[in-house]
Amino acid sequence: MATLRQAATDKLRAWTARRHGRDSLPVTINRRRVYILPTRFGIMLAFMLTAMLIAGLNYNSNLGLAFAFLMVSIALVTMHHCNRNLLALQVDVTTEADAFAGGEAGFEFMLRNEANVDRRDVEIRCMNAAGMRSVLARSSESVRVAIPVPRRGVVRLDQFELRTRYPFGWFHAWTYVQASLTAYVAPSPKGDRALPAAGGTGSALRSETRGDEDFAGLRAYEPGVPLKHMAWKVLARGGEAAVRSYTSLAAQPEWLEWSSLAGQDTEARLSQLCLWVLESEAAQRVFGLRIPGREIPPARGPAHRFACLRALATYAIAEPR
């Protein structure tokens, strides 16, 4: 039974993917893509409604029939309301997420409801993970769906699902959004090697790389700079947004080398490199990453860190389209 249902669901997913093509985010759910079926409880209700009708007809009771018809009508109206709960809802999502193997890749979904009615119990499903939220009238809500990722690599989802059972749990309306979500799963950070000393393979000279120990004057603001380095006083005086520039005492680039971990298997090496990346970043050091086929020049900051982690995640794995 379960496999049959799974097969039917897969068929439907494939068919909707062919039918609607790729979606460009944000997606507004239109009525042509919302499907609806009774839930198990809805089927129980249908049996009961049939019994009600038969009883009413059998006893020739017009009042009994009136009540039974009212219940049938309520069920039909509920079907429309369940369907409506998804209609004209806007969905957006950050299409990329980063995670470590054995952890979870969290995708942030935004649900935007411009209508004057509440959308309650809207569930977003990707693979086996789900998140549920109610979006009140004229408001937006974010939903985080965390997909468990056991292994390093790239997890790509071609579609996700929006579903709801509101109002009474008698019906189950759903829609598929054909948008690709990518999770870059870095190796789980572990290893027992100490962080290599700075300048291990690079130049021994003290370079004027940016650091954060010595104040070295102001420079223009650029995105990605830590907020604590912002020159707020300058900004308050009405000047340009500026950043206090520092030179780092140990500002010599440090190279995290694949080759320095000879003798270990690939995944262990990647895990060790991953740990180093995190440690270096935590220590606010300038570092570069060198793995076969890929070299990331020394830098720091969140963007750099992500670039390194993604390089580790995609090592020896075909990069998604």
Binding site: A55, G64, L70, V72, L87
Partner: protein
């Protein structure tokens, strides 16, 4: 989702709904079932209050088995309405006891809905329907609160939303109800519950029986005459006829043949529709003497009582024709003559003696009848609702000692005097009279109109109705019971009959009740046929009914889809947005749709570039829109003016080709 644990509040809500649904069954369910449900609900609530889960499975199983056995011992079946309802109620109560997850609550809501229908199969009042729709509303709102995972909406919002769904369901339900094909009979026969006692007249008559009925204001039936109604002294409604007398009680004959001898009508025919209230007996009251009726299963017995095979357990309407005066030239069979002159061999000796004496003086049958009636009028006989109790030879006591009695005393004594003289006589019970509801032109016959009279056989004429009561108290027959008994008699609810405005209000209420009954309770195949005729559909039949149902359903569902979707239209309730989107729609109609990201001013600029002829108008409209929407200062143009301007704006599509041609070049 549905396997989430229930909260105390959810349990309390569903228990309240169940209690309200069971309230509709209060009279019909065995008390112990109600107590069991109440106790198990109470225990579960108490446990939930302390944050505990349901009692262990073994305990629940034992309770369920015990209750099921008890139920079977009481009803001997789980089939039928009463047993089925009791079983459902028990199931709901026990389900409540074991409720741990929301799925259990879903099951209870289903039972509540079904209990509501079961109550409506028995009851038939408007108020019951309204009450149960209220219960349904409440249950649905409770269900709404179960489903919401995140901060549940408050009660008011739940009720509003459930109410909206209910109100949108009403037109759909009406279409179903009007056009869903009805069947003539039941699909299959359900076992008779048998527990319901008959009301009104019964198939025996002892002194005091009808006196009891005279105190009841309950309605026996209503009659709407298609012709002029018969005069009051001919308004006799025939019920069961009594033949066998044992010295105290009159009884119906055990076996009555279903062949009634033909009668020759003497007077005008009266056509009428009689709306009979259920009385759990198989006879049907009709104006004396019935000749035609539209109930295929009903037939006349040899003593002219209209009967049907099953007891009247639901309200029915009978269209019938009667003649108040008839003759029969057929002779009376010896068997029937013997049956209707039979008297118990012993008892009431003085009555027999009196009959012998009178018969000696009046050998002619009619002379003898007149002599007996004279006896009643000349001696000090009284017509009273509080006759003294009669023991032993009841007829002797009545005729020679107490001389106070109600119609059954007189009918009984008269019939015995006739039989003692060899004249075939029988006692007919039924109703006499009735009150006109002048607000709706029909007659109400109440239990207090119950009456007993006699029929005697006169050779050459046939059965002749003699009402001895009319000799004692002529006003009983002319004006009804109220005028016939003196003011100090304990007549039921006499005071409101004497208060004119209250009596009027009662009549109006009854008129509404009759309307409810005629239009709603007795809506059937014929009514549907009339409905189709009214809709100008030629030769209505079942197939056309289904077609009409389909068409009407399609219409209502289209409306429903529109109404439900309209609520999520963001521009609804915002006249300014509505007017602006109308403008955009008009411009889209001439080939320049607004782009998603485009603001009003950019859009106007683009339109002005593509269609210079529309430029000034569109620019002005868009500027007004911006001012109305965003400007803090009061705008010079009002919302209404803007709306009117948009409505008046009619972009011609003429220049479109021109512009297109230019673009091609």
């Amino acid at each position: 989702m549905s396997s989430r644990a229930v909260s105390y509040e959810q349990l309390a809500g569903i228990s309240a709904c169940l209690a309200l649904a069971l309230l509709a069954h209060l009279g019909s369910l065995p008390v112990w079932v109600l107590v069991t449900v109440a106790v198990s609900g109470g225990i579960r609530l108490l446990l939930a209050r302390r944050g505990r889960t349901a009692p262990p499975r073994a305990v629940r199983l034992v309770i369920a088995l015990l209750a099921g056995t008890l139920l079977f011992l009481q009803f001997r079946t789980f089939n039928g309405l009463a047993a089925g309802t009791a079983l459902l109620a028990l199931m709901a109560g026990l389900k409540l006891l074991e409720t741990d997850t929301q799925r259990d609550i879903y099951v209870i809501t289903l039972i509540i809905y079904f209990l509501s229908v079961a109550a409506l199969l028995e009851g038939d009042s408007f108020w019951l329907l309204a009450y149960l729709i209220g219960v349904c509303w409440l249950t649905t709102a409770t269900l709404l609160r179960l489903t919401s995972t995140l901060p549940a909406p408050d009660w008011r919002r739940s009720l509003t939303y459930a109410g909206r769904i209910l109100s949108q369901a009403l037109p759909l339900a009406l279409v179903f109800w009007l056009f869903f094909p009805r069947f003539a009979g039941p699909l299959w026969h359900m076992p008779d519950d048998g527990g319901t006692a008959g009301s009104g007249l019964s198939d025996t008559m002892s002194p005091g029986d009808i006196t009891e009925l005279a105190l009841s204001d309950e309605i026996a039936f209503r009659v709407r005459f298609a012709t002029a109604p018969p005069p009051p002294q001919e308004r006799y409604w025939r019920g069961p006829v009594m033949h066998n007398f044992d010295g105290h009680t009159w009884r119906r004959a055990k076996f009555t043949s279903m062949t009634a001898a033909a009668l020759q009508p003497q007077g005008p025919a009266y056509r009428y529709t009689l709306s009979l209230e259920p009385h759990q007996h198989n006879w049907i009251f009709a104006l004396d003497w019935p000749s035609h009726w539209d109930l295929p299963r009903a037939a006349l017995t040899s003593d002219y009582t209209l009967v049907q095979p099953d007891p009247v357990s639901r309200p029915i309407d009978i269209a019938a024709t009667s003649y108040t005066r008839v003759q029969s030239s057929d002779p009376l069979s010896t068997r029937m003559r013997q049956r209707d002159t039979e008297l118990p061999p012993h008892g009431n000796p003085r009555t027999a003696q009196l009959a012998q004496t009178l018969r000696g003086e009046h050998p002619d049958d009619m002379d003898y009848v007149r002599a007996v009636l004279n006896l009643f009028t000349q001696q000090e006989f009284y017509y009273t609702l509080t006759p003294p109790k009669l023991a032993g030879d009841s007829v002797d006591k009545f005729l020679f000692e107490t001389k106070r009695g109600f119609c059954e005393h007189y009918a009984s004594a008269f019939a015995i005097l006739m039989r003692a003289a060899g004249i075939p006589a029988r006692v007919v019970t039924g109703y006499q009279g009735g009150a006109l509801n002048r607000f709706a032109d029909y007659w109400i016959v109440r239990q207090s109109d119950a009456h007993a009279w006699t029929e005697i056989w006169i050779d050459g004429h046939g059965w002749l109705r003699i009402d001895p009561t009319s000799a004692i108290a002529p006003s009983r027959v002319q004006h009804g019971l109220n005028d016939a008994v003196s003011a100090d008699e304990p007549l039921g609810s006499r005071w409101h009959r004497r208060t004119p405005w209250l009596a009027d209000a009662r009549l109006r209420l009854d008129a509404l009740r009759q309307l409810w009954r005629e239009r709603i309770l007795l809506f059937d195949q014929d009514s549907q046929q009339k409905l189709l005729e009214w809709l100008n559909i030629p030769e209505p039949d079942g197939q056309k009914l289904v077609m009409v149902l389909t068409v009407a359903l399609t219409l209502v569902l289209t409306w429903l889809t529109w109404a439900v979707r309209r609520e999520i239209d963001p521009v609804r309730k915002e006249p300014l947005l509505r007017a602006y989107s109308r403008l955009c729609a008009k411009l889209a109609g001439v080939g320049i749709p607004r782009l998603m990201h485009e603001g009003a001013e950019d859009y106007a600029a683009r339109v002005a570039q593509r269609r210079p002829d529309l430029g000034p108008a569109v620019t002005a409209l868009c500027r007004h829109y911006c001012i109305l929407r965003y400007a803090a200062a009061p705008a010079r143009i009002s919302l209404g003016q803007f709306d009117a301007a948009v409505r008046a704006f009619r972009p011609s599509s003429k220049q479109r080709q021109h512009a297109g041609a230019r673009a091609d070049r």
